[in-house]
Symmetry: C2
DNA sequence: ACTAATTGTTTTAAGCTTAAAACATTGTCT
DNA sequence: AGACAATGTTTTAAGCTTAAAACAATTAGT
């Protein structure tokens, strides 16, 4: 999109002013890293397997679950809306990667499972996925990886604490 | 969505197996943190200002630029497609937050600028935005913030190096 | 000046996403 | 059993996003 090689993707940092606080700078750098990785993964999924990340996420959930899974459970595990799952499963079923059939116990429920084709497709893609992510982080030392891992845990805890505090205030 | 308070949002970590490599674990934790922050910001933008993050990003770009900006320049700075900007500006113009008029020099070009209403709206939202992000990171010490900032810089460099290497291979 | 290529924008088609409404089925209560 | 609440899924309406095609206007080359 832009010439030069290093700014084809979202890079929110380019707009940060020096007077911005450290929090905004960390947030924008976090966003930049996530977008770079995310975009790269999506691009390679498209190029090498002609699929998308949401489809891949569904196959991954089905693969690690023993036996078929209901639409609702898929929706909970992926943390997306029910309607979203309906659409994705429609397309995956159309491509023959998953199988959807009504539950014999409860006629409201649709049970979904991987087809053989779906399982095979997933295992190929998952292998690639692991390699891609590894390559992108190849320049970080084990110490750096551990440090990042721990700091992200601290950040996650801080965010959740802030949300809890906020929801308590809202409940008053 | 799920009871318990800590897993209402995307949390890819819940599915990671112990045999997964460190790279995948870091990636999923990165994704979790970004999604938590991103979702929170979007939710609050919706609740407090009835707007969205893409709209906010456009107002921010227009605010820091002196004078009107073309559609193409906006598209480059936000790192999104031209068509995307067209749609967003359509809606922002409909809400009276931005002004769009043809350039006098080049009749292909549309020049966009903030209206008074848009500038006022942006400054209110930006103030809140800074506070939200600060609150979410409140539990991290200055040292931790600096450490995270530096490690993310290392990660960004590693990703870009991997992309460059990959595109060089593709060009052979 | 005519033709070509280039540049700037919009339109189109497809997919992802959500919230809210609509439907279908099951469970509960009397 | 009948009414009503709760649960599981799909549909609908709206917005974000992209790639590719279509349009419009400018620039370059002859």
């Amino acid at each position: 999109m832009v010439e030069g090689g290093h700014f084809e993707r979202k890079d929110y940092e380019s707009g940060v002013q020096t007077q911005d606080g450290m929090e905004l700078r960390v947030w924008l750098r976090l966003l930049t890293c996530t977008n770079l990785l995310d975009t790269e993964v999506r691009t390679r999924l498209k190029q090498t397997a002609d699929t998308t990340l949401p489809r891949f996420d569904i196959l991954a959930q089905l693969e690690r679950h023993v036996g078929p899974m209901s639409m609702g459970e898929l929706s909970k595990r992926l943390m997306v809306s029910n309607g979203n799952v309906t659409g994705l499963i429609d397309r995956l079923a159309g491509e023959g990667l998953v199988d959807r059939k009504p539950s014999p116990n409860d006629r409201r429920v649709q049970m979904v499972s991987l087809t053989k084709k779906g399982a095979k497709s997933f295992s190929n893609i998952a292998e690639n996925h692991r390699t891609w992510v590894g390559d992108m982080m190849a320049d970080l030392s084990p110490d750096e990886m551990n440090g990042l891992y721990e700091l992200l845990a601290r950040l996650k805890a801080s965010i959740l604490a802030a949300e809890d505090k906020n929801s308590l205030e809202a409940a008053e």
